[in-house]
């Protein structure tokens, strides 16, 4: 009977998604509708869509598990998600992006940069990077959703993959941005409600209040395993030891990489172009912050508190209960919450996966269909009529590529490609796109040569660091080992734990400033002559 209700709720969920996708389809009449929802979306829908796109299943299950293992230091990521990802993103970046975007009449991130710098080359470059790097990243998100679906229906990986892909593909292709944002909004509400229930349930089961539970967790610092203490773990209510391996990982990879990398994510930036006034962005700030506080803040907090629960009932800390960071949150929720809640939690994970994935599919399709094909066909009028069809076709191609990657990797694959591609995409967004994007908004002296050079520096430095310096990816790829007989080129010191963004991003910033000043001077001299 329980299974019946689970199936029923999941079927209602999928039917709701189908309906919202259909609604998007009915309201999509042009390529502008398909790419930016006509530019007049509701601010609440926009803010919820932004939040849902921001939070993937790995943010809930993966980083929740990191919080369970390493403690509350990861709450800095939640704070940066709110402060940088919403407050700064909306006010400092979103408002001028919307205004300039409307002025330039652009409908995608690549088109924005290309039009601002008056360089089709930049547009093609940005779109190509998106189209090449995003399918692997999308495959990682796809796998998370497929595993969740497998658990709900008890079906094979291949069948889950097929069904999951068809569902997301149908509403992205049919409804375009409107379909994506309507479904995102519904999924954001599910995630919000789920996390609100979860925090009450966890405190009820612990039988403690907020401060009392924190104090009890602090008293557990002597339970930190030696292996974790050796890398800097000082307890679940303390930051890792300053300058330790864990400190560098937390601060540079998780906090800086993800917290700052979010500013130039094409699938997020394009949401600013979906509203038609600044006041709609202002309205979205509060919704975005509250959403992230409840979703991300709760799961990180609950992750850390899971140690308290397991210690009380099983005499073990969380990581000793399941031996895998990714499995801690699902196991803990299963233990601490009533059975009926598990269906809601499943829907929450499915929602997190689907909302992120749909935005990725849409962004890849826009990059290939509107930016690459659009520029190559030179926007000829007869081609323009077919643009929406071409973008839909490009979305289909992007989906098929992501599907094939996920299918080829298979169920039990422990390939590092997914982790590497996620790091690569985050790193490139921050290092290659962010300096040029920021200068487009605030530094009028930036030239297209400077922007183009900084993009190349960002991409090349990120790739070199991932292959030869950053231990996690370099050792997994094995290229450095094959060429030089060592996992990383610089094995002494902490550089191997420093995320590539921390190096590539400043270099890219310096490049755009120096090259812009040099090329601007040259341009001015030519004018004077």
């Amino acid at each position: 009977m329980e299974n019946f209700y689970t199936y029923l709720i999941v079927m209602i969920y999928f039917l709701s998604i189908a309906f919202l996708g259909y609604l998007g389809y009915k309201k999509t009449h042009s390529s502008k509708d398909f790419l930016i929802g006509g530019g007049d979306m509701n601010p609440i829908v926009m803010a919820l869509s932004y939040g849902a796109t921001f939070i993937s299943a790995s943010a809930i299950v993966g980083f929740g598990g990191v919080a369970a293992t390493f403690g509350m230091g990861i709450q800095w990521l939640m704070f940066l998600n709110m402060f940088v990802g919403v407050v700064i993103a909306y006010i400092i970046f979103g408002r001028p992006t919307r205004r300039i975007g409307a002025k330039l009449k652009v409908s995608s991130f690549a088109e924005f940069l290309g039009a601002y710098y008056q360089s089709p080359k930049i547009r093609i470059f940005v779109a190509t990077i998106i189209f090449l790097c995003m399918p692997l990243y999308a495959a990682a998100v796809l796998r998370g959703g497929v595993f969740c679906m497998q658990q709900v229906f008890g079906i094979s990986f291949d069948l889950s993959l097929l069904i999951f892909t068809i569902i997301v593909a149908s509403y992205v292709m049919a409804g375009g941005m409107k379909g994506v944002m309507y479904t995102d909004a519904m999924q954001a509400v599910i995630m919000f409600v789920c996390m609100a229930i979860l925090i009450f349930g966890v405190y009820k089961s612990l039988g403690m209040g907020f401060s009392e539970a924190n104090s009890a967790l602090e008293n557990m610092k002597d339970k930190v395993p030696e292996s974790l203490a050796a890398v800097g773990h000082q307890g679940w209510t303390a930051m890792p030891q300053w300058g330790s391996q864990q400190w560098y990982t937390l601060v540079t990879s998780l906090i800086m990489g993800v917290g700052i990398g979010c500013l130039a994510q094409p699938q997020l930036v394009v949401r600013f172009m979906t509203v038609n006034s600044t006041k709609k962005l202002n309205q979205g700030v509060a919704i975005g912050c509250v959403f992230l506080l409840i979703t991300v803040g709760v799961i990180y907090h609950v992750g850390a508190l899971s140690n308290l629960y397991f210690m009380e009932y099983d005499g073990k800390i969380s990581i000793d209960m399941v031996n895998a960071t990714d499995k801690i949150i699902p196991y803990f929720v299963g233990r601490v919450m009533p059975t009926w809640f598990l269906t809601i939690f499943m829907l929450c994970i499915l929602s997190a996966s689907m909302s992120t994935l749909s935005a990725q599919f849409h962004t890849m399709g826009a990059a290939a269909g509107s930016d690459i094909y659009g520029v190559c066909s030179k926007n000829r009028p007869e081609k323009k009529d077919k643009m929406t069809t071409m973008i839909r076709f490009a979305v289909l191609i992007s989906i098929l590529i992501s599907y094939l990657i996920c299918y080829l990797l298979g169920e039990s694959s422990d390939s590092p490609i997914i982790a590497i591609s996620t790091s690569l995409f985050m790193g490139i967004c921050a290092s290659a796109f962010l300096p040029a994007y920021f200068c487009a908004l605030y530094w009028k002296k930036a030239t297209k040569e400077g922007a183009y050079a900084s993009m190349w520096v960002g991409v090349i430095i990120t790739i070199i660091l991932l292959i030869f310096v950053h231990a996690k990816e370099a050792s997994a790829l094995g290229i450095c080992q094959a060429l030089f007989g060592t996992d990383v080129l610089i094995s002494n010191g902490m550089l191997k734990f420093v995320d590539p963004i921390a190096i590539a991003f400043p270099l890219s910033c310096i490049t755009i400033v120096v090259v812009s000043l040099l090329t601007r001077k040259k341009e001015e001299n030519q004018i004077q002559k």
Partner: protein, 41 residues
């Protein structure tokens, strides 16, 4: 504060609360206000 002795941790909770309250106040104040540049455009 909050039962946590490490300032780096209780500070992040405090900042998150301040950030949320600040964003709500910002939202209320600017709910219906457009940017000057918008009007110029």
């Amino acid at each position: 504060m909050f039962g946590i002795s490490d300032p780096a941790i209780w500070l992040v909770y405090l900042l998150s609360i301040i950030c949320t309250i600040g964003s709500i106040i910002f939202g209320i104040i600017y709910w219906n206000k457009d940017d000057k540049n918008d009007k110029e455009d």
